[in-house]
Every structure is written in C-alpha cells, then in structure tokens.
Amino acid sequence: MDVTEAIHGELTKCGVKLAASLPDDWVAPLIQRIAADNRIRHVRVAREAEAVAICSGAFFGGVRAVALMGATGLLTCTGELATLNLRHQIPVFLIVSQRGSIDDHRIYQEVQGRRTIPLLQAYDFPYHVIDRPDEIASIPDAFEACRLQKRPFVLFLTRRLVKGSAAA
C-alpha cells in the first residue's frame, strides 16, 4: 500500500465525505486519488480560503470534510481561519505539505519552513506531523482531536513521507 492509498484509507475511516483542495506538488497525488473516489465529493477551489469556508459550511450540513493544500496556501488563509473558525469555534481539518524543511531544496519555500509553525502556535492552532508511513494510522485520532478542540487542525505531511528520502 502506498502512502496516498493509506492516507485515503484513513480519511475514509474518519467518515470524510467532502474534500476541498488546491494542490501543491507534494499533495497532488493524494488529491488525485481522492478526486477519483466517488464516495467523496471533491471541490477544486481557486484560493485556499475557499476550501476552509467550504469545509466549515459542510460541518453544519453534518458532513465530515477535509481541506488539502500546500504550506504556502495555508499562509494565505490564516485570516479566514482566525475570523471564521477560531471566532465561531468551527473545526476544520487541513492536510498540508510541510514545505521548507531541510530536505526541501526550493528557495521559494524557505520562509514557509521557518515561520509556518510559529504562526500556528501564535494562533493556537494545533498541528500534527506525519513523517513516516507507520504514523498514517494516527489520522483518525487527529481528526477527532480537531473536532474536540473546535478549531483549525493542521496535519502536516513531510517530504520524506510523500516524496521519499532523496532530496531534489
């Protein structure tokens, strides 16, 4: 079982029926896999904050949802996460590539690598990092923690997890 198949399987166990996404290259294979699953309504968005608000609306329809995006996209929607989700205590589960790590040799990702987690900490948004395939089974716990904590919860996928160990 490959990584995207395993993550998809855990999201299914969580009861996820809607996914809203804007890809970066690390999460694109997972998005493609989810898009091919006709049990999950997949919504492609033009801006990451749309995914946040779509998942928030789905919460009130009784539908479990996930937003998928890159770390850069996460930075673009912190205002919406704060003024919609934090303000109203609406849980939203985000799966995000942990860009800017030491094995991510993309110059345009370096700020995301240094400042994303401090930013989440400043907002008091919980997060969990999945770095190895055997940690994927923790997704249902993370999803439940998101609902319980009633706020944005970021599940980071590392480069080692989604791209393998060789940096490029």
Binding site: G57, L84, R87, I90
Partner: protein, 192 residues
C-alpha cells in the same frame, strides 16, 4: 422581499449590512451570519449546499464581499449545486464602515463576470416591483443562479444593528437549528 419569498431556504449572509438586514427581517436562527472571513460566505454556503443537496440554500452576499473572493464564482459554477442561489446586494459602497466607495466605482458588470465564470442563470434587478415579479421564478428554478440586487446606499452609519448573539453561540444556535429541521447530526453525542 427576499425574506418573504425564502420558503424553506437556509440562508448564509455575508458580514456587515447583509447579515444585519437579514436578521432584522427574519430573526431566524437557521441562518448563518458571517462575522469574519470577508468574501467567504459564498464558499461557506457552497459547502453547506453540497452537504444538504435537498435543502435550498440562499446566499445573501454583498458587493464588497463578492469582490474580495471573485474566484468563488468559478467554484460555484463548476460544482453546479442545484440547490444554491447566490444573491448579491450591490450598493456600490462599503456600507458598514461608513459608506466609502468601492474600488470599482460602479464600472463593473457582475452579471457578465458570473456568466463568464460559467453561470447559465444570471441577472440584475434594479426595481422593487421587478424583484417581486421575478423572485418566485428565481426561488423555483434550478441553481446555481446569480442575482444582483442593485440598491441605494444608506446615508447613516450602521443604521441596522447586528444580531443579538455571536461567536460560539452563533455556531450552536445555527447547528442545533439545522439538526432540528433536517434530522442531521452536526454535533456528536458529547456536544462537540
């Protein structure tokens, strides 16, 4: 007028005067009144509509909010939710902050933008009697539809007060109202 014709629709209101006016007219708890995330009531309404496909969802948007998230029109058009109606209250100003003019200063054709984004049903209404005549058809037609309501700006600052509850209470009143109306489970057995 919109409230009179809403029928069973659940409403999602953009922050500011759109939300305040809807609250003043309906006092409804099965409506969600945005207090933040300007521009994203549209996306919230889409998520709700996709999750409750048999429930009519009316988005009461505003021109300022629409301009902050024009990309929502692409997403709405591509998702083609038959139960979603998008109304835009267009007064040409940022009413809530004192009536300052919008960036486009009335040069923009929102209907043309919606059509270009993929909406088959898009129109603008400027007169109250025209709205009264067209609303039953708009309510009955398949979505997604896009209707601009051209209105005059108010001269006063914050004339209509906001709803009397906010934050987490908004979440629980709205969620519980939908649970009662539709027999769905928004919150789990322990209330979260």
């Amino acid at each position: 007028m919109l409230a009179k014709h809403r029928g069973d629709a659940v409403a999602v209101c953009a922050l500011g005067m759109a939300a305040n006016e809807w609250w003043a007219a309906t006092k409804s708890e099965d409506s969600f009144y945005m207090h933040g995330a300007m521009g994203f009531a549209a996306s919230f309404a889409l998520g709700l509509a996709l999750s409750l496909p048999k429930v009519p969802v009316w988005l009461i948007n505003a021109d300022g909010s629409l301009c902050m998230n024009l990309g929502c029109l692409l997403t709405e058009a591509s998702q083609a939710a038959r139960n979603l109606k998008h109304f835009v209250v267009d007064n040409g100003v940022y009413q809530t902050v004192g009536g300052l003019p919008m960036v486009n200063e009335a040069r923009t054709d929102y209907v043309a933008i919606a059509r270009g984004a993929g909406f088959a049903r898009a129109r603008s209404i400027q007169e109250l009697d025209d709205l009264e005549r067209q609303l039953p058809g708009i309510a009955a037609e398949d979505g997604p539809s896009f209707t601009v309501l051209r209105v005059e700006p108010e001269s006063d600052f914050l004339r209509t007060p906001p709803m009397t509850y906010e934050g987490p209470e908004m979440k629980y009143r709205f969620g519980r109202a939908l649970e009662r109306r539709f027999g769905i489970e928004v919150f789990g057995p322990q209330g979260y």
